[in-house]
């Protein structure tokens, strides 16, 4: 399986920049995710790799084949890129049975009848759809159609697999099952895969690495843990998971620690200092709500640094956790705990290493 190199893609629609110098590499057998809100350019990037969009600048290589190079006016037609793609709508051809859907790419490649038959049988087995080979798409459920779409993308052994929001039309339960299943399949086949989604849970749970995109630019590339716990900037922090943002001025730096004076309040927050942080820098500190510890008012087990008294503004029970909206003086906080905390005035502790400083 080849690796994919995307370098310097620029694409504009009218006066709007859809892609602004997008660069990344996808390693052999890696599941690489493009994550971002709608309109961030993730689908445009995917469609450029697939050959359905032609950026104005940049290069795309799949393995040792240059499939696109704007400078050399090279754009290999989509049908000659040998990529497997699963679309958001699945795009299972409605006038063909499951078997015919899978046979199409093989017929185009002039496989012999027997070859087609064995190949399809094998692939349908892979996606556990063997009993459905004579069905038409409208006789299948959404989840089954998705498997057919995946099978059709795999049946001709494409060099890489592209997934364009493949789970967004499934209901919540099925989606979680499908994720695990696709991840497992991808891993077993060792397929180099690019996956596009706007769903952070999907991205975090499936990816080897994630590229977070916004406004046509890549904001951060990293393994899921990095993107979640060490967001490169405010956008990434806010987009990936819920977050508390503290804006303020660095009041002091001491070794690995920095003290932040939060805007509009007397509260101070001691955090791990980012590299090169200096006194009187304006910074934003992000803290995940589940990283906070909530204590009853009289509890003295945690004290000292980053422990504030707070008023409970509202409480919500969300099944597997509780969510609190708190007010510590002028600072508003969101915190999540697995157990409820009694009282309308409580203590909140923000562990130092749960805080990360971003631009």
């Amino acid at each position: 399986m080849p690796e994919i190199t995307v370098a310097g893609l620029v694409k504009t629609f009218g006066d709007q920049r859809a892609l602004d110098h997008v660069d990344f590499n996808v390693g052999d057998g890696e599941l690489f995710t493009l994550l971002g809100p709608s309109g961030c350019g993730k689908s445009t990037t995917l469609m450029s790799i697939a050959g359905f969009q032609h950026p104005e600048e940049g290069r795309i290589r799949v393995g040792d084949v240059a499939v696109f190079d704007a400078a050399k006016r090279l754009a290999l037609a989509a049908e000659h890129r040998n990529l497997g793609i699963v679309f958001q709508s699945y795009a299972v051809w409605p006038h063909m049975t499951v078997y015919e859907n899978l046979a199409f790419p093989l017929k185009v490649r002039r496989l012999k009848r027997a070859g087609i038959r064995s190949r399809i049988a094998e692939t349908l087995e892979l996606v556990e759809m063997t009993p459905y080979e004579k069905r038409y798409p409208h006789e299948l459920s959404g989840g089954q159609q998705q498997r057919v779409a995946l099978a059709r993308a795999l049946v001709y052994s494409p060099s890489v697999l592209l997934l364009d929001e493949p789970f967004s039309n499934l209901d919540a339960k099925l989606r979680i099952r499908a994720r695990a299943w696709v991840k497992d399949l991808q891993h077993r086949l060792g397929l180099t895969t690019i996956f596009v989604t706007h769903d952070q849970d999907e991205a975090l749970s499936m990816s080897d690495r994630i590229a977070v995109m916004s406004a046509g630019e890549i904001q951060q590339i990293g393994v899921p843990e990095d993107v979640y716990h060490r967001p490169a900037n405010r956008f990434v922090a806010e987009f990936v998971g819920r977050v508390n943002l503290f804006e303020g001025v660095v009041a002091g730096v001491d070794g690995g620690e920095a003290v932040l004076e939060i805007d509009g309040s007397a509260r101070r927050l001691t955090v791990r200092a980012a590299e090169g942080a200096r006194v009187s820098d304006r910074v934003t500190v992000v803290v995940r709500p589940e990283a906070m510890t909530l204590l009853a008012n009289g509890d003295a087990s945690v004290n000292g640094t980053n422990t504030w008294d707070a008023d409970v503004h509202s409480t919500a029970f969300l099944g597997d956790h509780y969510e609190y909206e708190l007010e510590a003086g002028a600072v508003k906080l969101i915190a999540q705990t697995s157990r409820p905390v009694d009282g309308s005035r409580i203590k909140v502790h923000i562990p130092q290493d749960a805080c990360s400083m971003v631009e």
Partner: protein, 579 residues
């Protein structure tokens, strides 16, 4: 397990097609340009030459325009045409919108049936319907004398501008109806529900929400109806000219056919002026609409609660619409039928005393028989060819990477705005200037077929496009990604899904090609007659009975084909006229 067998090396590469897709796309585009714009070049050229193109020599001159503009009759014809078009538009739009609201937003009894029936006048052969109108509403017609003599109520004479506008308005009303109805079905009814929850009475909702929401549809259909009615030829020729009212179209026709001094230069110049006006209107309409907004597919919710309860008005309003249909559609058709069975039509003598088969027997002979054969041949062959061609062009326009594809929708819609007689004159000159090929077209029915096909191209496109737009683009992308080229993808994936629309386009084209006439009046020769043109020329010569019989043939074939089409293929034959 499967890991090894899914190795890339095992799989052959997809084959490349022999003919590059871009060549097919270029050729399609070139054909559309040549056929749609082609006829207008010789027309423009003919209008600035000092002698007909078939005569040798000739130099550049603007004399034809000068001559035309000096002619008072020409300006008078314009004035008549504009009055007629304005009246027609006002009546057709008001009526169409009212019936659309009644059918789409109230509990009018029989609204489903009305939705289908009000479309009939548009689909029935227009020339035949004019004859039917003359039979019952003309001077000495059945209804006219019934009103005048029995009820002592005067009815407007149909050979006045107002009368002709009434006839044309009933024919074009369905365009306004369809546009408004589509807009109403598309519109989110929760907007109206919200107004009711906010305390507005149903009537108030109608006035403040529903009708304002219809404004784009009204404007859109008004422009189209106006454009179509400035170019109509049959009505002024059959009704106006005998009463000394000329329209631009009939003025040009008379100028062309008057044996003593035919003036091709002036006619071409007049046609250019008319073409310019129609093009301008089309551009205005596109501006109003935004290029493709008019094709937004009719989604809508399947069932909705009737918004406005008409209460005691339910039945009177239904009765009114029934009467309208009776007087404007059914009775003219019956009048036409009667006209074809009697020696001459008069309310003064009981029709059974005048019964005759002779008009129908005449159809089996000479020019009439020839016309029927030619028309049917043109309709069948033309509908097949045009459907195939429009399908290809629509695919290139909307499903190909072809660079100039965005010009195709406008090109394919352009003939819609072009008066039929101008297409006729244009093709006349085009055939004349293209040597042997042109001669072959000129001397056979294929020349007329080509002109008819180009004129009705937009209808096929308008039927085809919404269906294509509903076929998700990811379906063909999936085909491309699977390794199939543009042509294979189109053929194997898009075309099978487009088949219902192709059937609908075929049926619609068949009917239109069978009944079309105005491009042909400049192209017919002995031996290449078609029904419409024959009806026109024979009527002017006074052969009313056989013309009525011929019109009845058109009506019968049209009704049968549409009925079979909508039953067998489950297609929506209303299509085409609503955009």
């Amino acid at each position: 397990m499967a890991t090894t067998s899914h190795a890339t090396e095992a799989m052959p590469r997809p084959r490349r097609s022999i003919i590059p897709a871009s060549l097919v796309q270029w050729l399609t585009w070139a054909f559309v340009v040549a056929l749609v714009l082609g006829p207008f070049l010789p027309l423009a050229y003919a209008s600035v030459r000092d002698r007909p193109l078939y005569e040798a020599g000739g130099v550049f001159t603007i004399e034809p325009y000068r001559e035309l503009f000096r002619e008072r009759a020409f300006w008078h014809a314009w004035w008549n045409t504009l009055q007629f078009a304005a009246l027609t538009t006002a009546m057709a739009v008001a009526l169409g919108a009212a019936v659309a609201i009644l059918c789409a937003r109230t509990d009018l009894p029989g609204r489903r049936a009305f939705t289908k029936l009000v479309l009939l006048p548009l689909l029935l052969p227009s020339l035949g319907m004019v004859l039917g109108w003359i039979a019952v509403w003309g001077e000495g017609g059945y209804i006219t004398s019934f009103f005048n003599q029995r009820l002592h109520i005067g009815v407007p004479a149909i050979d006045t501008i107002l009368g002709m506008a009434l006839v044309e308005a009933t024919r074009l009303m369905p365009i306004a109806f369809l546009t408004c109805q589509a807009a109403l079905v598309r519109a989110d009814s929760s907007l109206e529900d919200a107004a009711r929850s906010a305390g507005a009475t149903p009537l108030r909702v109608l006035r403040s929400i529903t009708i304002p929401m219809l404004r784009p549809a009204l404007l859109n259909s008004a422009t189209l109806i106006f454009t179509l009615s400035i170019a109509v030829l049959g009505i002024p020729l059959l009704l106006g000219v005998p009463n000394n009212i000329q329209f631009v179209s009939s003025y040009l026709y008379t100028l062309w056919t008057s044996g003593t001094s035919p003036d091709p230069g002036a006619v071409s110049a007049g046609a250019m002026v008319l073409l310019l006006a129609a093009t301008l209107l089309l551009l205005i309409r596109n501006r109003l609409l935004g290029a493709e907004a008019r094709f937004v597919s009719v989604g809508g919710k399947a069932s909705r609660v009737a918004l406005l309860s008409l209460g005691t008005w339910r039945w009177p309003l239904a009765g009114l619409i029934t009467l309208y249909l009776l007087f404007t559609t059914l009775l003219p058709v019956l009048g036409l039928a009667l006209m074809s069975f009697v020696v001459f039509l008069t309310p003064l003598i009981a029709p059974w005393d005048l019964l005759t088969w002779s008009h129908w027997q005449m159809l089996d002979d000479g020019i009439f028989r020839n016309s029927i054969q030619n028309s049917v041949t043109i309709a069948v062959v033309g509908a097949v060819l045009a459907t195939a061609f429009v399908t290809l062009a629509t695919l290139v326009a909307h499903r190909s990477p072809f660079r100039l594809r965005r010009t195709l929708p406008f090109l394919m819609l352009y003939p819609r705005a072009t008066p039929g007689i101008i297409i006729g004159i244009g093709f006349f000159w085009a055939y004349l200037l293209t040597g042997a090929l042109g001669d072959w077209f000129r001397n056979s029915i294929w020349g007329i077929m080509l002109a008819f096909c180009i004129r009705n191209l937009p209808l096929a496109y308008i039927v085809m496009y919404p269906t294509l737009a509903r076929i998700g683009e990811e379906l063909d992308r999936a085909g491309r990604a699977a390794g199939a080229g543009w042509w294979t993808t189109s053929r194997r994936i898009v075309l099978p899904l487009l088949r219902p629309a192709m059937f609908a386009a075929f049926i619609l084209l068949f009917v239109e090609l069978l009944n079309d006439y105005d491009p042909a009046v400049f192209l017919v020769k002995p031996g290449t007659e078609v029904m419409g043109a024959t009806m026109l020329s024979q009527f002017i010569q006074g052969a009313v009975g056989p013309v009525a019989a011929l019109a009845m043939v058109q009506v019968a074939v049209t009704v049968v084909v549409l009925a079979v089409g909508s039953k067998v293929f489950k297609i929506n034959t209303t299509g085409g006229h609503d955009a």
